[in-house]
């Protein structure tokens, strides 16, 4: 079996070397350079489109999904080899997608065969871009009090209401959405619906954030018609699907703590501040704070690997994603605080050319939302305390 893996590793390496274009072996230059796929997808380069096509065809955008649904059908060990080889060659993630990280796992667990065959392959190939309709105004982290109604019209629902914090709703093709189908119980009367964002009655309005970016929207539903075959899981039991999916969302957001494509904190600091006579970063206290941060960052990278491994092996605690989400997002905020210090005056520029359009402060401000979106840090700590540590309720 070790031999099989070694062979798979060699093949994978060879395939990546001949199929991953050189431009796709550098980190994305900006958010706009990240591939999200979808009907409206405008590749930032021919290489980006080619890389998505090649990986999607092989199912390697979703290596451990079954092949029959467009996945790679790899074992956990093979999928890990693929990740390692992609990392070794610095290959970009070919496709960033809520379909992959959130809806897909939920469909695999709760979807009908028809739903799986309809949606999963198109997610794998990046043809449909999904968004998530959970939060509502005045609900915040308290999802159970949601008010968007879906009225039962026999073979379909009519949906009315409003969502907020819908990530990239203005760029998405379809939405997976929580709606209230029964008002008599709080969590029991919620259903999980899929529908198209291009149909009549759906409108979106981007929310401008303190970073100046608008990754989130307000999303309005005005008599939107949704066939009943688009319910995932049982009617009125959408909460189970939602909870399952939230775990996967946290998993994804927690990944933000790892460095990803961005510049390292030490490199950024060296670039702006230079070295002292001994060759050390020329700001001793900042240097020490960075050094202590790097310990935590590298330790968390080990944790992220362990988390994926235990998750794939079915050994992770069900609430472990909360731990990853909490730690990863807090770490990422610290990282950007240090990047701002490392950038000094330069990092305060908001719109200038030299600052790449204020990339540093905008990214810094953007990270402050990491510990709020997808369930606040406080919610994650509540979950850990109660579900992992078994501490009693208030």
């Amino acid at each position: 079996m070790a031999d099989d893996l070694a062979a798979f590793r060699a093949e994978t390496r060879a395939w990546l070397e001949s199929n991953c274009p050189p431009e796709m072996r550098t980190p994305p230059r900006s958010d706009a350079d990240v591939c999200w796929g979808g009907r409206k997808f405008q590749p930032s380069s021919p290489a980006q489109a080619e890389w998505l096509r090649a990986m999607g065809e092989r199912g390697w955008t979703v290596p451990d999904w079954p092949a029959e649904y467009g996945g790679g059908g790899l074992t956990a060990a093979e999928a890990k080899v693929l990740r390692e080889e992609m990392a070794a060659l610095a290959c970009r993630n070919p496709l960033q997608s809520f379909g992959i990280s959130m809806l897909g796992p939920a469909l695999l667990k709760y979807g009908t065969e028809e739903q799986k065959h309809e949606h999963l392959p198109r997610i794998a190939r990046g043809e449909i871009r999904w968004c998530q309709g959970y939060s509502e105004p005045n609900a915040g982290s308290d999802l159970a009090s949601l008010a968007t109604r879906a009225e039962d019209m026999g073979d379909h629902f009519i949906v009315n209401g409003q969502k907020v914090w819908t990530s990239y709703a203005d760029k998405a093709d379809m939405i997976f959405c929580l709606v209230r189908t029964d008002t008599s119980s709080k969590q029991g009367g919620i259903s999980f619906l899929l529908f198209d964002m291009e149909q009549e009655g759906v409108s979106t309005k981007p929310i401008r954030l303190i970073s100046g970016y608008s990754p989130f929207c307000e999303t309005f539903f005005d008599d939107v018609k949704v066939p009943k075959s688009n319910v995932v899981g049982e009617i009125n039991k959408g909460w189970d699907v939602a909870k399952y999916l939230l775990g996967h969302e946290r998993e994804m957001i927690s990944g933000m703590g790892s460095r990803g494509g961005g510049a390292s904190v030490p490199d950024t600091a060296l670039h702006h501040l230079g070295r002292d006579e001994d060759g050390r970063l020329d700001d001793p206290v900042l240097r020490a704070r960075i050094a202590l941060f790097e310990v935590r960052s590298r330790a968390f990278a080990a944790m992220a690997e362990r988390f994926i491994d235990t998750l794939k092996a079915g050994k992770a605690h069900a609430a472990q994603p909360s731990m990853m989400k909490y730690f990863g997002t807090e770490l990422n905020k610290q990282r950007h605080e240090l990047l701002m210090a490392a950038g000094g005056h330069d990092a305060l520029e908001w719109d200038s050319e030299g600052s790449n359009g204020g990339a540093a402060p905008r990214a810094w401000l953007r990270t402050r939302a990491n510990s709020i979106e997808g369930g606040t840090s406080e919610i994650q700590l509540n979950i850990i305390a109660k579900r992992i540590l078994d501490l009693p309720g208030g």
């Binding site: 308290d142 702006h272 000094g344 305060l348 600052s355 402060p361």
Partner: protein, 378 residues
């Protein structure tokens, strides 16, 4: 001297507070930003500062000012911080005025009346690198005629584009990293050879790169002694550090006040969120940090007003402590506000942006902790 405000200082606070809350609340900053105001502040407001006597607060009575001290300046700055009121007060009425106190009678006569009247705006061109390192000066000033010829480039000169006067540090002797050999100059913004490249900052303010190419000034432009500018610079910086500390204390209080109001009213899971103990403890910890920062700031102001030797170190302590306390204040404010705090529509984000700029200016906690460690000999 007791370490709290006396009656006069309390009265000043009682007039500054409604004035700034009324004339320049956060909505004022938002309006300036949204209209793309190139100065980043309102000249009308600056003249109203003059009517209140604020502009000349540190200026001696003999020069037409109020002759008050750094404690009083801090009273005003705290309200500026609480409201995020954009103005040239810190750079002009604290920084430039302190520098001009070491200037020739001609320099004082040339600039102080305009400052007191709210007509003149000054900017500080004391930086050259990416972080505050006031003694690393490569800009050169060479003797020329009965004055100097200045060549070099300064960075991060806040509000320089809107200014009439630049306070510039230049090297008249010594190597690039030496404290000795620096001289301070008062240079008209309009002097031939001065060009600016101004950029908007994260907080809606503006800062410029200042190019000095063969700028000729006469001897009256020297502030303090030639080659001994680091003494004057030390006073200017301590005044600015104490002043920005006071502004940061006000800012931290503004942010935490807004957050406490939110905690007292916002409900989630059918409970007032301010009743959750974890948030209560964090709010209480933040309160302590701000109180300690406030005490350190007042101490620095009092020592500056006493002309005490310890004032420079006290100003470093204050700037470092307020930098850390105010960072915590805005971070907790954003986190406790949840999603709404991340929107541009809500005011709280402006506090985070302004905090970052103020904390960086004149040295952050890293800089001052290092400076204090060196001063203590370890």
């Amino acid at each position: 001297m007791p370490t709290y405000w006396n009656e006069d200082q309390q009265m000043l606070a009682d007039s500054a507070r409604p004035f700034l809350a009324d004339k320049a609340p956060v909505s004022h900053l938002r309006a300036l930003r949204d209209e793309g105001n190139a100065d980043g502040f309102s000249r009308d407001l600056w003249r109203e500062f003059a009517d209140m006597g604020f502009t000349g607060l540190l200026v001696g009575e003999e020069d037409g000012g109020l002759g008050l001290g750094h404690v009083e300046a801090g009273v005003v700055l705290e309200e500026i911080g609480r409201n995020l009121s954009p103005s040239p007060f810190l750079t002009t009425s604290i920084g430039a005025v302190t520098a001009l106190k070491s200037g020739s009678p001609a320099a004082r006569q040339a600039w102080l009346p305009g400052i007191v009247a709210g007509e003149t705006v000054a900017a500080l061109a004391l930086e050259e690198g990416a972080r505050h390192r006031p003694h690393r000066v490569a800009t050169k000033a060479q003797r020329s005629g009965n004055g100097f010829r200045i060549d070099g480039a300064k960075s991060f000169a806040v509000q320089a584009q809107a200014s009439d006067l630049l306070i510039v540090s230049a090297r008249t002797a010594g190597g690039e990293r030496e404290a000795d050999g620096i001289t301070l100059f008062a240079i008209p913004r309009s002097a031939p050879g001065v060009t600016l490249q101004s950029e908007m900052l994260v907080d809606g303010g503006h800062a410029a790169r200042v190019l000095l190419e063969g700028v000729e000034v006469d001897g009256d432009a020297v502030l303090g002694e030639v080659d001994r500018g680091s003494d004057t610079l030390g006073h200017v910086l301590s005044a600015l550090r104490a002043g920005s500390s006071a502004e940061l204390v006000g800012l931290a209080e503004g942010a935490s006040g807004m957050t406490l109001s939110y905690l007292r009213t916002r409900k989630q899971f059918d409970r007032i969120i301010g009743s959750f103990q974890a948030l209560q403890h964090r709010a209480a910890q933040l309160y302590c940090e701000i109180e300690v920062a406030r005490a350190a700031t007042l101490k620095a102001q009092q020592l500056l007003d006493d002309g005490s030797e310890g004032a420079h170190e006290a100003a470093s302590v204050a700037k470092a402590m307020t930098g850390m306390a105010s960072a915590l204040a805005v971070q907790e404010a954003i986190q406790m506000h949840g999603g709404i705090g991340m929107t541009d529509e809500h005011d709280i984000g402006f506090f985070m942006k302004r905090q970052r700029v103020l904390a960086e200016m004149f040295g952050d906690a890293d800089f001052h902790a290092e400076a204090l460690a060196r001063a203590a000999g370890y």
